[in-house]
């Protein structure tokens, strides 16, 4: 893939990820636990990680977090988003390299590590240890949504073609 098309893809997918982040914030969540969400943005990151490259996936992630933080979030949410995004990227990158799992497993690990990173950060920032309930809910919802997003990503990886 040419250098210029890589750059163009980063721009297009960053825009897509930002729109999906915003859409996701409009979907009401019925569980009263912060951090429970569909993870549509992660499908974008997973697809880029597999189809274009690790560097591009990292760039899209950073741009997405910075822009959504500026547009829709406050500084506190920005820190949570940055922490979750970076940890889940690192985990997915490492697991993809290890070749132990396929796309679905990588996506589950990404979603769960995203949630665990945010719970740990909450634990640290709020200096409050009694969050076992949040941890349990976020583990289970993270695994389920990560798996669904993983299947969606497999479908996209197989059927979307890049030039």
């Amino acid at each position: 893939m040419k250098k210029s098309s890589r750059a163009a893809y980063v721009g297009v997918f960053a825009a897509l990820a930002i729109v999906l982040s915003y859409l996701e914030s409009l979907i009401p969540v019925f569980v009263a636990v912060p951090g429970v969400k569909l993870g549509l943005t992660n499908a974008v990151i997973v697809v880029i990680l597999y189809k274009i490259g690790a560097r591009e996936a990292f760039l899209v992630n950073i741009v997405r977090i910075a822009v959504t933080g500026l547009l829709f979030g406050n500084p506190v949410m920005f820190i949570y988003s940055l922490c979750g995004g970076m940890v889940s990227y690192a985990v997915m990158f490492a697991l993809k390299k290890s070749k132990l799992f396929s796309v679905a497993g990588v996506s589950v690990a990404g979603a769960v590590s995203h949630n665990l990173a945010q719970v740990s950060l909450a634990c640290f920032l709020l200096e409050n240890g009694s969050i076992a309930y949040y941890m349990a809910v976020l583990l289970i919802t993270g695994a389920v949504s990560g798996f669904m997003i993983g299947l969606l990503s497999v479908y996209l990886i197989k059927n979307v073609h890049f030039k």
Binding site: V29, A32, V76, S102, V112, S130, Y134, L139, A143, K158
Partner: protein, 127 residues
């Protein structure tokens, strides 16, 4: 065409399984760990006596669960109105963007918390 086409492409890539066994193992392992944490948490619950309200890790006040009271907490981040009624504490109103704290069910058991992340506010039931 589509199902045929997909099958051909899968054969070409040499990976017909959508999901590997390792993926499923990881999925169920996480679900089980989550369920165990949840069970341990549920079993360890006992009725609490007071509600501790803190912002940014700093305790603002402690309210007894026995007295019905409505109190507004204004912080640099925003305001949350906390209501204690019938031995249960809940957040009735808040001007935070996500309203997760308002949707949270009322708490009364030791160790239960309501957390408002945008306002860095924690409502915790203690003894």
């Amino acid at each position: 065409m589509s199902s045929d086409g997909i099958r051909k492409r899968e054969e070409k890539s040499g990976n017909s399984a959508l999901v590997k066994r390792a993926d499923l193992l990881l999925f169920f392992a996480v679900i089980i760990v989550g369920a165990v944490i949840f069970l341990v948490y549920r079993l360890s619950l006992s009725q609490g006596k007071i509600v501790r309200v803190s912002v940014d890790g700093e305790v603002l006040c402690e309210l007894p669960l026995e007295e019905d009271v409505t109190r507004e907490f204004g912080t640099p981040y925003g305001t949350n109105t906390i209501v204690i009624k019938d031995g249960e504490a809940s957040v009735k109103e808040a001007d935070c963007p996500d309203k997760i704290c308002v949707k949270h069910k009322a708490v009364s058991m030791f160790g239960e918390t309501i957390i408002c992340l945008p306002h860095k506010l924690v409502v915790e039931v203690a003894e």
